[in-house]
Symmetry: C2
Subunit: 327 residues, 2 copies
């Protein structure tokens, strides 16, 4: 019998690296027992140390009833994860390794236990191809660090039981995550496709000597990155269009879509695409005027900049001097 | 005689739209007199209204001595901008229109007056091609809204006097901007190349029905967008690599660079590129350990999310419920 998503008390984690360890911390904060398996004993011990040093951060976010470091248990076999009600898989980003692992899980883990993968972009259809317990497998892709950043993408493979997808969505939501359950598999899912496009352009620029990593980072954190903390690219451009919103913006920048302003060519700006973009923005503004959303954007921007200014981190990139005098 | 960058008291603005108007507000906040020319009289009047409604926002950021709404003057000809010590050009994003405008400025404006362009990605070499006063022209590309977002990219064209580029850099810096002066022209500059790559991938996804605009926005604001407010893509991935930093991250994700996780192909991961990425991150961390930067990142993330939570904007996208209970 599968535990209901909201009632999960014990979470199994495969892989104690940055992402697996980050998930472990998140579930610890929520008061769950966490069993971690990593073939490297050192990785497990490292996680134990990280958990200690990160605990004050988890306290700041807010500990659930019963949350404590002692709920972290390192186990020495995949079979030991049978004590958990769900398993989050964080194996290396290598398709063959993932496939071999899922085959091992056929025998190691009761088939009722959902296995959710943190893969950054592999399709579950490919990862589950050679295993028999495919129905209980599903992607649950987080962002680093999983103990703070709320976004998780959920998507099943061809052999995934739709009930597993629904279970995963409900489980992550109960675990204070913002979930998008995708209707179809897409390499890189959604957020990573966007992030990866930006990242590859950045790599090209550094490879060609067009910009340094510092210039790339500065150009984001002092520019569009500030807005992306609360308005996605569509809402950002909706407001760049003034009173005319996205419709005006698409018209204004239509010629620019043909310019080599990135190595990625833009799609044809068809009537259908225009309409989808405009309607998607209007659904988000939900009847509020452009002026109202602009005011909200400005308030968000100022507060985000003030929040960062207060920390005054030693990292020069994170300093936003202009706002030192904000009220 | 050109005024020294720090002593500028009067700024001319061509174009009263979203960006031109935003620049006007920024210079008004800094206590400067602002002359605005727009061929559409309605646009000028609209800006006068916007300035009134945005004034409380400018007050929150902090008004310079003498800053007031009365410093905004609408003028009815390009010639009238001769009273200004520098002109910020915000004409439509159309190369022929820009070229025609720069030719007009040959006769309309004293050649000592620097003309700085807000173009989103055109090369100044192209815009200045048919004018005679090219030496005083230079790109000064802001991000919306220019009265809050600090980033400005500065780059000259082939015929630009290097002194004009230096002048522009000093002028924007004196105006509380974070400036990158680029050594060479690159279509889309730096930030817009990155933003445009992400944007084009988003348009492709919407065109193909792979995601909705809402899903795209949610995937950014609940995911990587939160980090990009203070760490650029390089620093973000430097931390995703754990103790091994960027070097480990590049190794871990090297196979993924060949995956179709975006429509943009990645460059070959050469030793030179690896080295540049690693060194660029190490220069940014400036001797601090990964653990220290991770702690700073977590602090920034929590504060940014708390800041956004406090506003509780009606926009569902901007709500980050998990942090309602943050201390």
């Amino acid at each position: 019998m599968r535990t209901t998503p909201e009632a999960v008390q014990k979470v199994g984690i495969i892989g104690a690296g940055v992402i697996g360890g980050g998930w472990a911390l998140h579930f610890l904060r929520l008061g769950k027992k966490v069993l971690v398996y990593d073939p490297s004993e050192a990785a497990g011990e490292h996680l134990r140390e990280t958990a200690k040093t990160t605990w004050p951060t988890l306290e700041r976010i807010g500990l659930a009833c019963g949350a404590c470091l002692e709920n972290l248990e390192l186990v020495s076999s995949l079979e030991a994860l049978n004590a958990a009600e769900v398993v989050q898989e964080n194996a290396p980003e290598d398709l063959e390794q993932k496939q071999a692992l899922y085959q091992e899980l056929d025998t190691a883990l009761d088939w009722d236990v959902p296995v959710l993968s943190s893969t950054s972009g592999f399709a579950m259809t490919d990862m589950q191809k050679t295993c028999r317990s495919a129905a209980r497998t599903c992607v649950g892709h987080p962002f680093n660090p999983p103990y703070i950043v709320p976004f998780v993408e959920v998507v099943g493979g061809e052999k995934t039981d739709p009930e597993t997808v629904r279970w995963a969505e409900a489980f992550y939501t109960a675990c204070e995550k913002k979930v998008i359950a995708m209707q179809r598999e897409l390499p890189g899912f959604i957020a990573n496709r966007l992030q990866e496009a930006l990242w590859r352009e950045a790599l090209h620029m550094v490879a060609e000597g067009e910009a340094t990593p510092e210039e790339i980072d500065a150009s984001i954190v002092y520019g569009p990155g500030l807005r992306w903390a609360f308005h996605g690219p569509c809402m950002t451009f909706h407001l760049a269009g003034g009173e005319g919103g996205m419709a005006h913006m698409l018209k204004h920048f239509e010629p620019a879509l043909k310019e080599p302003w990135t190595r990625l060519e833009a799609p044809e700006l068809s009537d259908t695409l225009r309409e989808r973009m405009v309607q998607g923005c209007e659904r988000q503004t939900a009847g509020r005027s452009i002026a109202e959303v602009v005011q909200e954007r400005d308030e968000c921007l100022i507060r985000v900049m003030q929040a960062l200014q207060e920390i005054q981190p030693t990292n020069p990139i994170a300093q936003k001097d202009a706002y030192a005098s904000c009220s």
